[in-house]
Amino acid sequence: MAVTLSTFSDQLADAVEHGAKSVVSVHARPRLPSTGVHWRDGVIVTTEATVRRDDGITVTLPDGRRIPAQLKGRDPGTDLAVLGIPTGQLPAATFGDPTALRPGHLVLALGRTGDSGPRAAFGAVSATGGKWRSWKGGEIDLWIQSDLTIYPGLGGGPLVSPDATILGINSGGLSRPLATTIPVSTVERVITQLLTKGYVARGWLGAAMQPVHGGLVVLSVEPDGPAALAGLMVGDVITSLDGHAVEHPDQVLDLLVGDIVGRTLKVELIRGGKQVRADLLVGERPRRTR
């Protein structure tokens, strides 16, 4: 069958209709609601920046019912927040594979504001890439940028492929002016931590360093921090961490993401011209109070 504009149009409208079955409206800020995705049964994901209060949050379901939701946790680093609702209210999202996206692929952004029907935007993937760190410090598994317009209220909504599968959560705040999508795998990782701890623990060494020839020189050590407890001193030159040669602080930051808190890292360093080894127990970065 020849693909005509009408059949293509119907396919897009079908994708919106199916994708929107797990898309809710989130009332967690004054005036304009944001969008959320029913990610697992009883679990709503939205963007952290749109959740402006911790209590009195409600969501409007696709059938128009407005029900209370509880904030389960938030991670400003990846701009994700998780809300809990009673189970069995609506279908959970169906996921696609965002690693298969290439520039030029057609995509939709969905939203819901209040008790109206779904809202949709259409565009193309403009750039893809590997792992990156947001300006707020969160690690995101894939770089997905599109030319979609994230209209007011669409933040926190899903990126949807024309086959109606959800590829991630659209964030208006992580990168401007193009829309950025937090891929499914990152959302999974973050909500698992948010549901168990209420926040995302990030590794912490308690030492400041800068590159020198052959390694990283320690510039300061936090009293009673992990580096201090391991015996590290100002002026030490760290040459290797966890078996990897280190030459730039980014390599250390890359090591401190994921499930790292509580692990012991082997440190090799040069102190006064001599090679020294130390065991460094990774701590949890102190959390700023909001």
Binding site: A13, G117, P118, R119
Partner: protein, 189 residues
């Protein structure tokens, strides 16, 4: 019936005119024998000039207008163009392909394409006065510019669903074609 996109846009294009009043240029669409509709902010009052797709110029007169809904109905003697085909925007689904034809920034008969965002009033929080926000709109995720005003937004088969009227927060807002029908029927009697 299914049509390739260029055919659908070609049909609509034959129904789109330029509306000149003073230094301003807007778009208009052919409605019926010797009748063109456009935005009230494009044809403010009295006499205007209409440029047809073949380049001919016709004098036209504002027969009546609804300033609140931003609709003006023009008498255009010797118009000689087909009337647009129409579709009730209430039947549209979000995601359907739409396209706009007009004269954005003076570029004649330019087409832009996108999809239906939603139909109805705008959500609270859009930068627009409340009395305008609460009106029903055909909201489209497609690019408009000054000069599109009064021109059609049509579906994948070239049926007009709305009249391009304004841009709010990047979103294209069109007066539902059913609102134009209602005004014409009420006033033509």
């Amino acid at each position: 019936m299914s049509t390739p996109g260029y055919e659908a846009s070609a049909w609509v294009k034959d129904c789109v005119v330029e509306v000149h009043q003073g230094a301003g240029v807007g778009s208009g669409l052919t409605w019926a024998f010797d009748v063109v509709v456009t935005n009230a902010h494009v044809a403010r009052a009295g006499k205007v000039q209409v440029r047809l797709p073949d380049g001919n110029i016709r004098d036209a007169w504002v027969r009546f207008a609804d300033r609140e809904r931003d609709i003006a109905v023009l008498d255009v003697p010797r118009l000689g163009l087909p009337a647009v085909r129409r579709r009730d925007p209430a039947d549209l689904r979000p995601g359907e392909v739409l396209f706009a034809i007009g004269h954005p920034l003076g570029v004649r008969h330019a087409m832009s394409s996108g999809i239906l965002h939603a139909v109805g009033p705008l959500p609270d929080g859009y930068p627009i006065p409340a009395q305008l926000r609460r009106l029903p709109w055909v909201q489209a995720d497609l690019r408009l510019a000054p000069g599109n005003s009064g021109g059609p937004i049509a579906d994948a088969e070239g049926r007009v669903v709305g009249m391009s009227t304004m841009i709010v927060g990047g979103l294209a807002l069109a007066v539902p074609i059913t609102a134009v029908e209602a005004l014409v029927h009420a006033r033509a009697a």
